[in-house]
Symmetry: C2
Subunit: 297 residues, 2 copies
Amino acid sequence: MFNQLGVIGCGLMGGSFALALKQAGLVDRVVGYSKSPSTLEKARRMGVIDVAAESALLAVSGADIVLIAVPVAATERTLLAIRHMVTPATLFMDVGSTKLDVVNAAKRVLKDRAQSFVPAHPIAGKEQAGIDHAEAKLYAGRQVILTPTSQTDPVMLQKATDVWAAIGCQVLKMRPENHDAAFAAVSHLPHLLAFAYFSAVANQPAGKDFLQLAGPGFRDFTRIAASAPHVWRDVLIANRDEVIRQSALFRSVLDEFETAMRDGNAEALEERIRQISQARGRWHLSGPKTTGSSGSR
Amino acid sequence: MFNQLGVIGCGLMGGSFALALKQAGLVDRVVGYSKSPSTLEKARRMGVIDVAAESALLAVSGADIVLIAVPVAATERTLLAIRHMVTPATLFMDVGSTKLDVVNAAKRVLKDRAQSFVPAHPIAGKEQAGIDHAEAKLYAGRQVILTPTSQTDPVMLQKATDVWAAIGCQVLKMRPENHDAAFAAVSHLPHLLAFAYFSAVANQPAGKDFLQLAGPGFRDFTRIAASAPHVWRDVLIANRDEVIRQSALFRSVLDEFETAMRDGNAEALEERIRQISQARGRWHLSGPKTTGSSGSR
């Protein structure tokens, strides 16, 4: 399907994409670049990439598919570094958890070359970041959202759709604004709440003792609080307007709960929890097939 | 170890305790009572109990160990119903997630008979409530907190310790006040936040579409939002002072996060998330052994 994949950023996401394409026989050669020389060398030794490039630009050279897998705030400077090699013949994608900022960066930097750039967000990951945790199956059974713009070449959009489908993803298309609103609600806010909650519990005087008593509910509720700092720093800033809007909705429901608790209004609490419990009981993870794996995001 | 177990409340917790004692060969006969005749009949047909009693009092009659496994707000009226059969020779325990309210109810109702009552809170469960989900292994590998009072007979406390240990629990002893403060932090607040969060996401205009896009992080973060309404209604009211105090701590950390997001303070956000992510990465579920099961609470 492709001759050469260029991966910029050899972490969990980039490394797993390279492994998935290799395992599926979709690419002959992978050239990688990482700003960390030790990561780059490790990716090569692990066989995730075949060739270590000395720059992002050199990782793009000769590639017919390029994946930019860096924290979202680094997307613009990555595009700046490679813009002279962005041609209509090569498919460019990213994996950022926010899309409007990425689309705007692409418009600013690539201008009329943005036609071959297909912004992508695979709903996959795990809280252990880095090349050590990369695996070919990371994306299998997951959804991937593509957010094409008016400039996006339909041929490239189809190629992007095909490659994600070929590694086991269900491919959806959305407007970047709608993507960011939805993921503020279902992903970015939960991360923010898990960070704030874990910090509040752990940093109180008896926090250490309390944590010893925490059970399986706590374990699952806080799993995403172990997520990668450089990834979530960028996501929470890039999508802050939507995340803060979702947080306000959450706070107002929390206020209602606390009012019912203060009033000792058992009936209202039970009715409310019953609706939530039933709706959550009916909810199931979407995707092309059910998997038992435990990714993040 | 015991001749006859009386179980009042044949749901997930009571049913699983009966099954665990039977499987461990710790009891000869189980007499159960449920206010729901259909639940009681099902418990008997499933072999969870051997005899269905027509009242709580009759479930206590002849027992040398009694487990009260009802929502915490029903503890006082259960004790009222059985108080004439509460003797120093029989071990009485509950399984409530809050302890100060239970201890106070026992003092009020049992007065000087409270010596054989050992308040207990096993840190186990799952979000599917009811006798259908009862299992002998529910408590294996979990912690159980006993909150004896000044009245508690040390012999009974030892018996209680032994029976929980015999079904695979790590037994801890705490003051009821300390128990309630700790579990407000590590269990009750996460349930409240998960309820409020799920409700806020699901009940907004685009909520249904958003939920289709949610991934594994959302799945784990909201698992406890499917918990039993009648259990959590009572817990959130019984322990409201501590829960609201913990919620205030959480809200103030959330405020700090949102301020850093609004200010675009990437450095502060990253540093904060790094501390949290590392601390959460180091945290592990406590218990006598590691289990792969996925209980609740």
